[in-house]
């Protein structure tokens, strides 16, 4: 690793294995950009990393207030990590509101870097802070570094052609420079990024670069710190890597999934937090033949996707909680017409509008059961940002091979989180080419839209195919012919057939593997974004001398084969979920003889590893 632009530092360089930084400021302070830049640079120097952005639902809540605080936490390390860390080692607080909102999470003995320029009487009042915390003893136990960033930035950019307001908007890059110095990071990647971003306004790029360099130099000059730190590159598995965010991975996976099926990707979507960036990303990949349709509402979005699948594209739709509620009826139509369809739900806090920018896993039961009638739909869930790629491809596979809608669950934590992604061998990706019915000449056997193939899937004949003209719809269909049927026996046959088809997906999915001892006192079972935290917690337990096993479930409906035997090897199965125990409820129903312990947390935030570690010791001590 090289650090450049170094003004002859003679401070000692200490090695650290893993560091957690939280940048916090006003939502207009550019904390997300700062955090993302620190992340990209850390990725470029070979650290393992995980991030957790935390921003308000309001685009710009009143400046300086607590609801307006935007945060970005990242953990970077020289060891394998799975979470953005429980408690930050360093908190960068750009104003009193950011300090007040975040100080409770800081590790004891942690470092606070406070921008004193924004701790005036007025700022304190806006943050509803009565006494300046930098001047009383409320921060005892922390190392507090006070920097007047407002002033320093103004000095650094003295004589610049920018307005005072524009100069002050470079504050975040001064801060970033300071943090780059502290953790011995190179400035070049961000300089390059700035020059690209402000290609049309070079003076803005240069001002931000100047501010960042000033921040970097200040580390030495102002002797704020007793030393600098180094976090060496992590020992990652060999390969080519890139930094990836959850929604981005989903978009790439959906496009790849369609291509692997030999189909055009058609995404019908309506903007909704935190799913919108999937639509944005896919709209930018038109050269991959992707068609995106920004619909008038959630219902039109899924309906257009169903229409596209009817014509032989792979229809997809992306949304979050309230949007899924609106799509329910159309999902039932998808079940009835048995066309491939991928429905992505990036879960957020609910019910109703709930907590749009916060994470939750509370849509599982809705995904599995939430439709009128017997309407089975396979459900799978993403474990981490990069896992979105594989899961999206898997969802496309199931949709195409089984001619069915598929629900893919992600959540806000994964959507906006980032991690290094070891890029897959493209040639080794699964292949599942879709098959269309061939045209039929006169005298050929009649096309039977509801006849069945090997997997109970129905044959797909698309408009434009001679001799296969047929009608589909939401009324019950007669087995084989697909004509409307009100026949009692036929209805039951079709209900069972649809169920059998979806349950048959089991034949194509693996039994998940247990990490750690294959049997024993306790298995921690997770699904979705609790993956990293559970692994982290199990590793902490192991370091403390307690071996606990973990199991992660990607396929949630149908449940994979082999679970009953697997569960039987453990005395208890702990299920941490960011809901009131939805998977636990499903498993208790399916496997009533095992000891499932539900561990719910519904705060709009991921679990902390320590919370799971404590729960584990509680259980084992009992």
């Amino acid at each position: 690793m090289t650090t450049t632009t170094e003004p002859g530092s003679d401070l000692p360089l200490q090695k650290q294995e893993r560091v957690v930084i939280r940048f916090a400021g006003d939502s207009g302070d550019g904390m997300q950009i700062t955090g993302n830049q620190f992340t990209s640079t850390s990725a470029a120097v070979g650290n393992d990393l995980a991030t957790l952005p935390d921003f308000p639902a309001e685009i710009r809540a009143p400046a300086g207030t607590r609801p307006g605080v935007s945060g970005f936490q990242l953990c970077f390390s020289s060891i394998d990590i799975h979470t953005p860390g429980d408690n930050p080692d360093v908190l960068v607080a750009m104003n009193p509101a950011a300090l007040a909102v975040n100080i409770g999470d800081l590790k004891t003995g942690g470092v606070v870097i406070a921008n004193t320029g924004n701790f005036t009487e007025k700022d304190l009042k806006k943050a509803r802070v009565e006494v300046n915390p930098l001047e009383d003893d409320s921060l005892e136990g922390y190392r507090v570094i006070k920097v007047d960033i407002n002033k320093r930035v103004a000095e650094a950019l003295d004589g610049s052609s920018l307005s005072t307001k524009e100069v002050q908007r470079c504050k975040n890059f001064y801060t970033l420079g300071l943090m780059y110095w502290l953790y011995s990071r190179p400035l070049e990647p961000t300089e390059e990024w700035l020059r690209k971003k402000f290609a049309k306004r070079a003076e803005l790029a240069e001002a931000n670069i100047t501010a960042m360099r000033a921040g970097f130099a200040a580390g030495d000059i102002h002797e704020m710190f007793q030393g600098r730190f180094e976090v060496p590159a992590a020992e990652l598995t060999a390969g080519t890597y890139r930094k990836i965010m959850g929604n981005q991975a989903l978009a790439l996976g959906l496009i790849s999934g369609a291509e692997l099926a030999g189909l055009k990707a058609f995404l019908g979507s309506y903007p909704i937090t935190p799913a919108s960036s999937i639509l944005e990303t896919m709209a930018s990949f038109k050269r991959h033949g992707v068609v995106t349709f920004q619909a008038e509402d959630e219902i039109a979005a899924i309906c257009a996707a169903i229409g596209a699948s009817f014509t032989g594209s792979l229809g997809m739709t992306t949304t979050s909680g309230p949007g899924i509620a609106l799509k329910s009826e159309a999902m039932g139509l998808g079940v009835c017409v048995e066309l491939p369809l991928v429905i992505v739900n990036v879960q957020r806090g609910g019910p109703s509008t709930g907590l749009p920018t916060k994470t939750e896993q509370a849509d599982l039961l809705q995904a599995v059961f939430g439709r009128n009638g017997e309407a089975p739909i396979p459900v799978l869930a993403v474990a981490s940002p990069s896992d979105g790629f594989d899961c999206a491809i898997e969802a496309c596979r199931i949709a195409v091979e089984y001619m069915t809608p598929v629900i893919l669950l992600s959540d806000g934590y994964i959507a906006n989180g980032a991690e290094p992604w070891r890029l897959p061998d493209v040639d080794a990706l699964p292949s599942f080419e879709a098959r269309f019915e061939a045209p039929r000449g006169e005298g050929a056997a009649k096309y039977m839209p509801y006849s069945r193939g090997q997997r109970d899937e129905r044959p797909w004949a698309v408009p434009g195919t001679e001799g296969a003209e047929h009608r589909v719809g939401g009324l019950e269909k007669e087995h084989l012919s697909g004509e409307i049927s009100y026949d009692a026996e036929n209805h039951e046959f079709m209900v069972l057939k649809r169920q059998e088809k979806v349950m048959g997906i089991r034949a194509s999915i693996p039994t998940p593997t247990v990490r750690g001892p294959q049997g024993g006192d306790l298995l921690i079972l997770g699904w979705g974004s609790t993956y990293g935290t559970i692994i982290d917690a199990a590793d902490r337990c192991a370091r403390a001398g307690t071996q606990v096993s973990t199991l992660h479930m990607r396929h949630l409906w149908p449940l994979p084969d082999g679970l009953d035997e697997l569960f039987g090897r453990f005395k208890a199965i702990l299920i941490p979920e960011i809901n009131l125990g939805q998977l636990a409820r499903i498993l208790r129903g399916e496997y009533p003889h095992h000891n499932f312990i539900s561990f719910p947390k519904v705060q709009g935030r991921p679990f902390l590893s320590t919370e799971i570690v404590e729960k584990v010791s509680d259980i084992l001590e009992r």
């Binding site: 080519t240 790849s256 050269r287 229409g307 139509l333 408009p463 009608r471 409307i484």
Partner: protein, 332 residues
């Protein structure tokens, strides 16, 4: 797309037993559409009928083409996916006053403003038929139905005004007892490139019998209906002696000789709006025919051309391009 073998009306009849009530206006509409399909010469395999829910929405089952009987109100949304994903298909939507203007009003508005090249037939019988007789969004105020025993208190939609308000590029009206007029209107709608909206006055023999008799009954219709024919003077009456003269935003009932020539291609939709509300003036006829026919780019064409343009500019993408992109680094 055009089939070289000659198609007949019979080719478009499906083997399904038609299950509308005896005497329903829908039979005549179905007949007219089948004739027009034959005349258009587009193969059955390239034609798709899409519908929502309601009596009119059974339509696709009676056509021997591809068909999709969807969910209540959502036919325009499904048709949007069909047409955008495969612009080569000839796409029709059959909907009603409840399906299209109540539960599906939003989707109808948006397919019209986006100008998808589809043909929309709105069967207006001013009542909910399939649910057995409740008032609809086109029922006149005061209409007594099962859910409005003292008369409907809703103000009705004027479907033509709705379509014009959505900036639809083709807007027309016809009625179920005039096969010739229906065929002429449907054919013009189908040949129009862009979203075509046709309101059909359709009689419901069971729940709203005779709802349009005051204008379409054989005894009165010559004097009560004005057929808007683009480029022709607005003349009507049994003796073709009456006319409509337009002055600004006013219409005046005049003699045939003073009738204004109807321009459906005016850039502004204001004249069409004026016509759509004409019958609210005492002594004025009820307008049918083509209110608006203007040209505009279609949604699916522009969508496809953006994809083609991106491929032209940067080459067709592969999974490798997609994955091995952005800033990558190697770990040995």
């Amino acid at each position: 797309m055009a089939d070289t073998t000659t198609l007949t009306k019979k080719d478009f009849k499906s083997d399904q037993e038609v299950r509308w009530c005896p005497g329903c206006g829908d039979y005549a509409i179905l007949n007219a559409v089948q004739s027009v399909c034959a005349r258009l010469g587009i193969a059955r395999k390239d034609t798709v009928f899409v519908s929502g829910i309601g009596c009119s929405s059974r339509f696709p089952y009676y056509m021997s083409t591809y068909g999709f009987h969807t969910i209540h109100g959502r036919a325009p949304a499904i048709a949007t996916g069909i047409k955008t994903a495969n612009p080569d298909l000839s796409v029709w939507i059959a909907t009603g006053d409840g399906d299209g203007l109540s539960i599906g009003g939003n989707h109808l508005a948006h397919i019209l403003r986006r100008n998808l090249d589809v043909t929309i037939l709105l069967f207006n019988n001013q009542v909910y038929g399939l649910t057995k007789g409740q008032y609809s969004p086109t029922s006149p105020t005061g209409q007594r139905t099962k859910t409005s025993p003292m008369g409907s208190i809703d103000r009705p939609f004027n479907p033509i005004g709705f379509a014009l308000g959505c900036n639809a590029t083709f807007v027309a009206r016809t009625y179920d007892t005039n096969i010739k007029h229906m065929e002429r209107t449907f054919e013009a709608a189908a040949r129009h490139k862009g979203a075509s909206f046709v309101e059909i006055y359709q009689n419901c023999v069971i729940f709203n019998d005779g709802c349009f008799d005051d204008v379409v009954d054989k005894g009165v219709r010559d004097d009560r209906l004005l057929d808007l024919v683009p480029g022709e003077p607005m003349v009507y009456g049994a003796g073709r002696d009456k006319g409509i003269k337009v002055e600004g935003f006013e219409t005046i009932v005049s003699g045939a000789e003073d009738a204004s020539v109807w321009d459906a291609a005016a850039a502004s939709s204001a004249p069409a709006f004026t016509m759509s509300m004409m019958d609210e003036n005492p002594g004025h006829p009820n307008p049918i025919g083509v209110f608006r026919a203007v040209s505009a780019p279609t949604y699916e064409e522009v969508s496809a051309s953006q994809v083609a343009e991106a491929i032209e500019a940067d080459g067709a993408g592969t999974i490798r391009d997609l994955v091995y992109a952005g800033e990558t680094w190697e770990v040995a």
